[in-house]
């Protein structure tokens, strides 16, 4: 059953805010506390908020299990792919081949306390995004699966 109109409106307003905040955490994983897993969990909790505010039938129309599973798989494949790309360059698996290269995420960082610049850290932000996408899909789909296990359908 749906919850009351007030909760639904709050969920509608908060879901984009949670989403952008989670993405902020993911993107700033190498500068501020956070990272792929934390950001993904935050976003997944936003999904849980939408799921609780509406009923199961409605929600499965907006958050599709197939899409979420695809997200999860693509996140994982991306994560492994970023690592495997190092093998293509003749490096060791998980070698940080982007740091200091000057290309995307490739600005060098001096040692010591500094204000932080987003465009650094090589493959770390890429991995953050991959893990974030994976956790986003995975944890949301867990809640959907568990709701589908309730005896009374459509709650």
């Amino acid at each position: 059953m749906r919850m009351s109109k007030i909760v639904r409106t709050a969920a509608d307003i908060l879901y984009p805010a949670i989403l952008i905040f989670g993405l902020y955490i993911v993107a700033h994983g190498h500068l501020t506390p956070g990272g792929g897993f934390q950001g993904g969990a935050v976003i997944a909790t936003g999904g849980a908020l939408v799921i609780v505010a509406y009923n199961y039938k409605e929600v499965t129309g907006w958050l599709k299990k197939n899409v979420l599973t695809g997200q999860e798989v693509s996140g994982l494949v991306g994560f492994i792919g970023v690592g495997l790309l190092a093998l293509a360059f003749g490096q060791v698996f998980f070698f940080n081949y982007l740091v200091g290269s000057g290309s995307i995420f490739g600005m060098p960082v001096p040692y010591g306390i500094n204000p932080g610049e987003l465009n650094t850290a090589g493959i770390v932000p890429l991995m953050n995004f991959a893990v974030g996408i994976e956790v986003w899909g995975g944890l949301t789909v867990v809640i959907l699966y568990m709701l589908s296990g309730l005896e009374k359908e459509g709650c």
Binding site: M3, I18, F21, P33, G34, A53
Partner: protein, 85 residues
């Protein structure tokens, strides 16, 4: 200057302990839920204050995460208590 912040954190922590009393006593489940909510609010407030105590600007993000997410579990519990889940 720092001492004042710590004193405030101390007061909030003590208040948290009192709120836990209601969580223990609470005759019904909703009583416990609102006690938990109170603890929640106090935790967020003390986290913001502790960010100043430690002089670390960036770790206030944790408080925002709490502020955004702590009510999701409350909603689940409310939906369950209301018999709608």
């Amino acid at each position: 200057m720092i001492d004042v912040w710590i004193l405030a954190v101390f007061c909030l922590t003590v208040l948290m302990a009192f709120a836990v009393v209601r969580l223990v006593l609470g005759p019904t489940a909703p009583d416990r839920v609102i006690a938990l909510d109170t603890v929640n609010t106090l935790v967020i407030a003390s986290m913001i204050l502790l960010g100043v105590v430690f002089q670390e600007i960036i770790i206030v993000d944790v408080a925002i995460v709490y502020g955004l997410l702590s009510f999701v579990s409350t909603l689940y519990i409310a939906k369950y208590i209301g018999g709608e889940l």
